[in-house]
Symmetry: D3
Subunit: 156 residues, 6 copies
């Protein structure tokens, strides 16, 4: 089974990497799709996000990282993928994910949800941005290379 | 990927069948495991639940139905399966499923969660038992053969 | 519109009375149905619960209190009522109520949910039983006559 | 009982129509109020939303559709309505609706909540806008005339 | 124990005052920190929010009100405080608070959560702003001096 | 401030110990109260639970462990404690805790909620009992001495 794990990954964090590693064990091929709202100024450039994910996933043979624009299922359809992967941190996450997952199901795309590692249940791209802005420790939240990239891109 | 979908299926309902059909498309082999608490009097005998599920899934080539006792992961380990499948009806369901899924993950078993068809989100074995007890219509809740089996087993 | 407000009311509390008073303003006739599981020993006898509710609702002209057994919708159908009333204390309450409300809807019965007074959102029959067992103050939780009835029935 | 069902209905969808049809059975008169934030650019013009709702509800004799601005309860007070109607898709919906419903209650306005048809629990105006933007199928989400109106108004 | 209760308090409401009074009984010193996003136009000026809180808390000997900018934990660290206080209105509130509380814990700051008075569970600064905009009664939501200050600052 | 952390601790687990250690930093004295339903057969005898907690908390100078029966607030009142401590694993936990916390507040007892370490959010006494029954690894769930005690008491 070939699966697509879409997200904005802005920035990528340890919760994303946990989902990728575990999904990669279940799928024959896992494509990580770096998307996001093109009209919104990103925190890190899409290319940087892709590079970080490629570097972090280098040892996972069946994982590819692609950049895409437009609707998730357009990419999926164009690339012959019918299975999506999403991580869940909490019940509130499921409430947010469920409507689009139901729409995707009605359009022929299945979503596999993986429950994140409890130790990372509080980690989101949004909280990383807040933690970095507050100058708090990012230990246990992001890999070192994400920390460096953020410092580089958000330096005045 | 070979996956195990454990449950008590007491009785099996359309929500279960929806999960089975969709999981079967994603997995190479899907084993439906009919378990349950052996110390609790079942609503339908385990053998009947297995027969119903086998009959309903007859057209799905890669689905097997087995009866098992004991812990879910014992069966999984003994049969070389490392991936579990569970359906989610709601955020409250995830709250109930998450602790054991985390324990399973820590013991090397991954759980794939499938969001159920919204039209079946209110359907559970428990509600079926209440609906049957109240003599309400089971249309859209269970297949005809489940209805017949319940009538047979719960007749005075 | 004639509506039916079913429950076990074991014991009746201020949250119930708040729902009754407000529903009575919306409905032409409101029938409060005192039911409950006949196989479970009640905290207060059904007749006592009915008497309390009748006394508390004495000034509400369009409210009737009846005792019933069996499925809620059997009573409703036999008495020409197609609208049910239920109170909601919290999101968790809705999760618990939703499946049966969906079944009722599919069988032709509509459920009107009223959000309880926030000041009473923590009040349930179960918490009343715990509060009475612990000898804590029931002020703001139950009317005086419920307190007296419980003392009478639970005295050793 | 005369009731007011306020919303932005931008765009109207099958979930709205389900609530309208069911509420119309319970109420003597149901007024559907097309409001929304006047400072936010709408997806469909308010007049178009009203026309669609009027056309869809044409067969419901006791349903009126009005456009209104300002606070919901101002309209209600000015038109002698004390009962509001709102649909609930999920527990998360109730969390979002509860504070204003409590404020309305304290100001003398009752809110009747109807649980939406489970098959439509994932349908919101927001998801319709995303589905249309993504070019996905809107079957089972919106009536044909909404689809046509959106195409007309969002065409470049 | 010295504790810090951070918030934007824009405007302060009875729910805030309830948390302050109760936290003040538990703590040796309670510092109420009026912060907020400096890039967002406030509803009331920070100085006004501080004045209101100081006036309302005048009788609480161990409560101080300070204005601060920047990350909450910067203020805490600079002032030798390791304990934070936050109010919880509902389960949804906890979902929103939990990620940052976990980050704070990992950085050496403990958060004490107090469940708000149920009668104030629907009260938030946001709902106050909506209630004032709609011209609804603020009785039971904000102290009189908050009402006056808002009228003064939002008058055209 | 002297606080009381009541629970059944059946068995004690790492989540409990995390709450105890963190609460002990905030309180002058923390009394851990081992209670539970006297009519229910415990998993571990109360005395064993006390011994385990005393041994695990030996290095915390301001922590005492007591066994108590009856209502939590009876013990608290008799021992001059007005502050209770409870851990929260999730939003669902808060839903379960909130009603009694509100009753306690109305009776003069404040409850301080501590959010548990995310890495332990899935750990409950109930899941420990299931994990032990299933023969799964308890690493990261309970201290070694709890494991040994359970083996001793549950051996056939």
């Amino acid at each position: 089974m070939k699966a697509f794990y879409p997200g904005s990954f802005d920035p990528p964090h340890l919760g994303h990497l946990d989902v990728i590693k575990r999904a990669a064990k279940v799928c024959d091929v896992l494509v990580v799709g770096v998307g996001g709202n093109p009209e919104k100024k990103p925190f890190l450039p899409a290319m940087t996000r892709c590079e970080i994910l490629r570097a972090e996933c280098g040892s996972l043979r069946n994982v590819e990282v692609v950049q895409y624009t437009g609707a998730t299922v357009h990419w999926a359809k164009a690339n012959g993928v019918q299975t999506l992967v999403r991580g869940l941190r909490s019940a509130a996450d499921l409430d947010a994910e469920a409507p689009m997952a139901s729409v995707h199901r009605a359009n022929g795309f299945e979503t596999l949800f993986l429950l994140c590692d409890p130790a990372l249940a509080h980690v989101s791209s949004r909280i990383i941005r807040q933690v970095m802005a507050a100058g708090l420790s990012t230990e246990g939240l992001i890999p070192g290379r994400v920390h460096d990239a953020i410092r580089r891109w958000t330096a005045p």
